[in-house]
């Protein structure tokens, strides 16, 4: 071959190599080779990553207990969801003295977001932001490429004010840097679960997660704080999957006796 031909071949090789590195094709080959060693925890994380595609509706109750320096705080929640964008969330929260700090309702019908403060008898109503009208996949696709990718949570989880948000939509948690280890395959509340232990990079976070094997939803989470003491425990109960909730569940109409306040004023809790 002539010099030019060698040059053309070399360029082609470089470009193809570059394309492979960009598209991650070689990574796919590598991951196939090592898949036997990590298949169990990888499967569990994959379930978390694609969780929102594995169920169409959800009804559940949840509890979160916070173990703080001042005592325990209790949160009781109920949630109804019709995918992709209808959610009703109710929260009753007491502080370490047992005093009520939140009696709160958050609803979206996919077009509006409605929030209701049952203590102050106020509510607010505003448009669902444009980003939350996208699916997670579309939101990621429209995000500019970055050297170190930002974590992109599920759009509904990005708006929903509750610890349940990232457990029901665990796609954000699946993107964290750290190590997920599969500890067991168990049954919780009659549902097969993966029991995962997560340790963040530089030992920054320690969690134990029970991931529902069929839906990828995290039905129990324990977060450990300073000196690895239990800090948060969240549990989902009375889980009903794929039984569509009545549409009136997601009404954004206030009850009688409640006063409208603009979002910014409402948010000054």
């Amino acid at each position: 071959m002539k010099h030019k031909d060698w040059l053309v071949s070399t360029m082609a090789g470089l470009i193809i190599g570059l394309l492979f590195s960009i598209t991650g094709i070689t990574n796919s080959f590598n991951s196939v080779q090592s898949s036997n060693a990590i298949s169990s925890s990888a499967n569990a994380v994959a379930q978390m990553r694609s969780s929102d595609t594995k169920w169409s509706s959800l009804s559940a109750e949840g509890t979160t207990i916070w173990y703080t320096d001042k005592g325990t705080e209790n949160v009781k929640m109920s949630v109804q969801i019709n995918q992709p964008n209808k959610v009703k969330l109710q929260i009753l929260q007491t502080d370490e003295n047992g005093d009520l700090v939140f009696d709160y309702v958050w609803v979206t019908d996919g077009d509006k977001i409605y929030e209701q403060n049952n203590i102050k008898k106020t509510y607010t109503l505003y448009d669902v932001p444009a980003f939350a009208r996208l699916s997670h996949a579309d939101l990621v696709l429209t995000t500019p490429k970055e050297d170190t990718p930002s974590i992109t949570r599920h759009p509904i989880a990005m708006l929903m004010p509750s610890p349940l948000a990232d457990y029901i939509y665990p796609i954000g948690l699946s993107q964290r840097t750290g190590t997920y280890s599969l500890e067991a395959n168990n049954q919780t509340l009659g549902r097969p679960v993966f029991v995962l232990d997560f340790m963040g990079d530089n030992a920054s976070e320690h969690q134990k997660l029970e991931v529902d094997q069929s839906t990828g939803i995290i039905i129990k989470a324990q977060t450990f704080g300073e000196k690895d003491k239990l800090f948060e425990e969240t549990t989902l109960t009375n889980i009903l999957v794929d039984a569509e909730n009545p549409i009136e569940t997601f009404s954004t109409q206030p009850p009688d006796g409640f006063t409208y306040v603009p979002l910014e004023e409402f948010s000054r809790r």
């Binding site: 705080e73 980003f131 500019p144 990718p149 004010p161 610890p163 964290r176 450990f224």
Partner: protein, 182 residues
């Protein structure tokens, strides 16, 4: 035979040139859209805080970060992130704060970030973030849908308790660089 070979070679060269252009278009252009709102640079206004040295052993951007108690003080008017530049094209403007990593399992607080496009009746939304979950990462807050022809776009941490999270004045929240696009 030579003619056929020459044609193949020309086609190959064309393909390669096209591939290079495609690569530059899809990567270099996108890469140029990422920016960081950080202290001490000219491309930002409003990053009003007294920078604290990053504690030894922590991962912070440029070695500084700031903290306050979650929900423990009046509205944090003294800190916000505002890009000096705005898009000249109709495209979303994204924001993603960096959450420092303190290298221990001690917990951070949960806060709301308020994102607003500054127009009367324009886009405004609140994104709750449990900072414990995202240590050492940039976490996407979403976008305002039109990053152009707007007087300003602002991200403002709001000192209020997030429903469902502990908020008894003992947990801290941390502020560092904000990644944005335009």
């Amino acid at each position: 035979m030579n003619k056929v070979f020459l044609q193949i070679r020309k086609t190959s060269v064309s393909f390669i040139v096209a591939t290079i252009i495609a690569f530059l278009t899809t990567n270099i252009v996108w890469a140029a859209t990422i920016n960081y709102i950080k202290d001490g640079t000219s491309n930002v206004t409003g990053y009003y805080y007294t920078t604290n040295p990053c504690i030894t052993g922590w991962t912070c951007q440029d070695g500084t970060a700031y903290w306050d108690y979650a929900g423990g003080s009046p509205r944090l008017a003294w800190i916000y992130w505002k890009p000096n530049y705005l898009s000249t094209a109709l495209r979303p403007l994204y924001f993603a704060p960096f959450i420092p990593n303190n290298g221990t399992t001690s917990s951070f607080g949960a806060i709301y970030y308020k994102v607003s496009d500054g127009r009367s009746g324009g886009e405004v939304f609140f994104t709750p973030v449990n900072q414990t979950n995202w240590k050492g990462s940039y976490v996407n807050l979403g976008f305002v849908s039109n990053g152009s022809n707007i007087s300003y776009v602002l991200v403002d941490p709001v000192s209020q308790c997030v429903p469902g999270y502990t908020c008894n004045g003992t947990l801290k929240v941390y502020y560092d660089w904000m990644r944005t696009s335009y």
